[in-house]
Amino acid sequence: MKRSDIKSVMLIGAGPIVIGQGCEFDYSGCQAIKALKGEGYRVILVNPNPATIMTDPEMADATYIEPISLEYLTAIIEKERPDALLPTLGGQTALNAAMDLARNGVLEKYNVEMIGANADAIDKAEDRNRFKEAMIKLGLDLPRSKSAHSMEEAIQVRNEIGSWPVIIRPGFTLGGTGGGIAHNEDEFAAIVRRGLDASLNTEVLIEESLIGWKEYEMEVMRDKAGNAVIVCSIENLDPMGVHTGDSITVAPIQTLTDREYQAMRDDSIAVLKEIGIETGGSNVQWAVHPETGRRIIIEMNPRVSRSSALASKATGFPIAKIAALLAVGYTLDELRNDITRETPSCFEPALDYVVVKVPRFTFEKFPMAEKKLGTQMKSVGEAMAIGRTFKEAYRKALRSLEVSNPLDLHDISSFDPWFKREIAEMDAFEKYLKSFGSLKAIPTDVFAQAKTMGFGDKEIGKLFEISEVDVRTYRYELGIHPSFGAVDTCAGEFKAITPYYYSTNACREEGVGCRGRCTKEDSIPASKKKIMILGGGPNRIGQGIEFDYCCCQAAFALKKRGFEVIMVNSNPETVSTDYDTSDKLYFEPLTLEDVMEIYEREKADGVIVQFGGQTPLNLAMKLKAAGANVIGTSPEDIDLAEDRDFFKRLVEEVGINEPPSGIAHSVEDAVKIAEEIGYPVLVRPSFVLGGRGMAIVYKEKYLRSFVEEAVKVAEGKPILIDKFLEHAIELDVDVVSDGETTVVGAILEHIEPAGCHSGDSASVTPPISLSEKIIDEVRAYAHEFAKRLNVCGLMNLQLAVKDNELWMIEVNPRASRTVPFVAKAIGEPLPGIAARCMAGEKLKDIGFTEEKKLTYSCVKEAVFPFAKFPGVDITLTPEMKSTGEVMAIHDSEHIAYVKSQIAAGSPLPLKGSVFLAIRDEDKKEAVKYAKELDKLGFTIYATRGTSTALWNEGVKSRAIYRVSEGRPNALDLIRSRTVSWIVNTNEYGAQAAVDDIRIRSSAVVAGIPVTTTLAGFESAVQGLAEENAAKLYQVVSLQERNLASR
């Protein structure tokens, strides 16, 4: 029964998206909030990530866009006085934060009960020694291992284990940060040092290597009555040694007998009981020796995890929702299964399909990072696919990734023979198909069989060098179409109510496809108008949760307006693929083939492509050509904005400046153009996502080497060269238009000067340094471009201000990465409004005709994955590198900035020592801020050049060698943690000096904040100067702000 002694529950989100903690926790948090609110509890949420759906003001009762730190959480608890804290739905971040609150006596002081998992159970699961003890008590087999707290201790443990390789895992971190596999003493020393640094409790576990063993995961739910169920079992294709987040995984387990599976099930449930997880979901990981069957427990996560999100999507069992309800006192048998509505949640889902998840990597963004999979997670996103066979699911998953060599990093030879054989059969079948010589020579039943194996039209076309459209046309002639199966939790045993579907070609009825055959039960003709929304597919740098936010908002808004909303997406981490976000969910790859089959089956009235990022946009023209009604700004207009010549003309007509530019097809071209327009220049390949292959170049020498590289990336497409506006202020403007009226959502001023990718730059709204005249001009241009591009929906403009003059950089008539931030800042559901316009409503009817005036300042800061890639340069460039973002709101823009740094995980010190390494052109400005720091009592260390500049202005500082000059140098300061802040600006365009890279990357690993721009330095100093504790830790909920601003 539900607990009536608690009235309010506080939930901690996972904060910004980082590697190892993606948008799956937005999904779990949303489910939990909805469930708890539905039960009448007051829900208090803390999460500084503005791109999450969970932080939308209508979700929780009180939403705090505040940093997840002890100080802020304490302030919120003091203000809100929640009865309970549910720490298990916000990933490791929430768990660590909750433990911090418990350890510091905050929960006790304010009488807050930890529900879901108590502090002792969390500690028992996370503390290596206690966990090991508990597992030994249960009689489970463990790898030989021991933890160490110092290098000496580590070496001793290694000697006891006696065999290479050994695995090193730091305690209390995210996604395995700092861990690794050591094959020899040198590697061992390096990894142990890194691990001890990354661990919050300076602890590493050193253990016998299980590399090559089969790896399994069990998702377990348990209630207070002791009832337990396995929601999903998962088998990793990549064996032990590759982080499960980086592994290709399959559900359910494929290569264990029932006897082996049931023994693992018993033990998994016993683990939860022994650890003391009274209610909720946990993930238990196992290794099985491929030849002997010896089974070893690896670990358990006492919380909802990335795998739980996958398990929920794979089975239809809403783990996070049920976990939240169990935490407030329900038992599993008291809760209904949402999918069938007839049966209880106390059951184990039966799958009659196969689910495959594949990770997506972004090594191309970090050329210096080691391109090898290991125990440290490196992937930034994932795609999931459902098929009736492993082959079909696997191929669908691979095509969902949208990369050309998805298997590059996986060592197929290390897979279990079952998977190897399946993959080999697909390869052989490809050759078999090819052996027929041409598409039309393939016998119909063989063609149909290719479809049953999951071969996409595009892949088949590739074999004969013909287009996907040609194959599609031929397939239609043959009448081969997929059928659709429902994810129903019960393998067809009961009727499913919630429509959650996947396509399959694997039904071989009559030798060809059998449209409508599989699932007669579920194609309900709708009386409503149907609108399809295409999601963004797997997360990647440049296309992530922000676009999912837009898709979800659009779904909510259109559902409310009486449309039947059909969501299509392949990303299991998202809220958009939650079965109750839209009316119907299709878990499918975002390709022409897959999308059109759904469109035609559903007889949809329209499809929205502008919210899911580049993935659906790339499909827009093809969908239109295939007969789909693309609503909103037309695909032609979207394309036109990307067309350089058209855009140039448009800019001229509107009468705004555009940086001079040229198009180069060779290195010589590029050099010539650069000489004409003058250095510095911005160089980039055309048609890129997230600024891939972009750079600012100051000198011919660098231009030559860069263009050579860019030509490779561009694959034959031309290279664009623009005059770079040095020291300009960049602006991001998001607007919504219904085709007649256009309203500016917000104007964002970047804190870093132009040149750093807009997705990586900190920015602030309302703008802080622009004149009213310039802002008026920006507005006028926004209206003009919206009109000329016939925008219906969202549009993003990027402009630059230099010497009080506006320059046009880019216009994109679609949702941008900044839309969720803007929506939060102004308290209006911008994508929802845009979706309504696209479906035919007018802004004046919606009641959104005026730009909002803010009385407070909102700062967005980006969060980077550098700690995962040791040795990588952390300088911000036109190539986007951030994985996530945070938001900070305050009446003072400077305090908001300081707060944003806390939220981003690199809080600036209030006192202590700072190390300054400033490039010559910034020195004059920097000295002013250094003076302020001196006044605030900071001890200043500086490189010799910077130090001299400071002395000249009368600021005391200690000169320190650069890394290569001798010792003690900057690295020594970092390692000894003598400095608590580093300000290091280096020259644009230059191959970043090796010294600088080493300084910054060691600082990131050591967790010392690094400021790399003068603008950032300025904001920080002003924020610190103005700051006082009372103001900094002031907390205001989104709901309070929105009320105040209305």
Binding site: P344, F347, E493, E509
Partner: protein, 380 residues
Amino acid sequence: MTALIEKWQKEREKKAFLALEDGTIFHGVAFGYLKDAVGEVVFNTGMAGYQEILTDPSYAGQFVTLTYPEIGNYGVNEEDVESRSLFLNGLVIHDLTEPSNYRSTMSLDEYLKKAKKPGIYGVDTRALTIHLRDHGNMKAYLHVEGQGQGEEISEDEAVRRAKAWEGLDGQDYAAKVTCSESYEFHHSSLNTHTSTLPLVVAYDFGVKTNILRNLTEFARVTVVPAKTSAAEVLAMKPDGVFLSNGPADPAAVTYAIENIKALLGKVPMMGICLGHQLLSIASGAKTGRLKFGHHGCNHPVKNLKTGAVEITSQNHNFAVLPETVPECLEVTHINLNDGSIEGVRHKEYPAFSVQYHPESCPGPHDSKYLFDQFKEMISK
């Protein structure tokens, strides 16, 4: 690669179809032993455990459709057998794969060939399952085209043969699958000869080996044929009598019902599945057919005494009808999916039974405590 292409080409010629009595036809590819067969089609939603299902005598007379689509993955081994043979009439699956598992000694295809049982793969098993869910279990005829018995028949003829088959209702299949004479069951890893252990006489109506394994943990076990009389059993001076699972219709096993009546009150009894139905009938209840039965490893059952929920392994088409439960029986367990009766206890005599399979194999081990309960009952 050539071998694979040959396999694919051969596959195109090994056509087979399953004709349901209502005229629905499901096409696929023949495997296992190539022959025609007739039987009742049921489905099982367990995701692993096909070897245990194949060797479970309760499936005698039936075609088992496995809803999980990838079958054969872990091959078959020598340990995971639940009886001396394969009793089902045929296996219907979606995809047949080659094995990979450290215990595997044979592929599923070879296993069926050896046991002379036919199989059909490439069937849209989801469509078949939904059809059975909506229309109930059905009689069916499996025809292997061009091979097998060498006789070519049309789809219509196959449907006719399915219809003409006598079916399972009113059929005593226990008599067909029971052992021919009594024997002592020994578990290889346990010493059951100790005469200090109590004696359990187990009626074999189609008993699964893992039941016997569980019983040998606390008793000497003598297995007797289904038709062994109560007097013969009592003459063995048992400390407890066990009523096993088994195929088909409990109402047809009239002799067992009489024997149980004679044993009730004289010796503690435990029943599983068919044994549960027989004990209930002997106590005055009636059984009836469920629309499509319970066949899977994920059914939640609530123990009404403790309130705890067990995830159970189930395989039955018949069930005790709630409205017929006599005064002398107490319902101890119910199915949370459909509220059907899953367990009863006799109020006057030491006897209890469950509809599901606490011995699992395949399935979860949540209900193993029932054997402890029996152990306590017989040691009183």
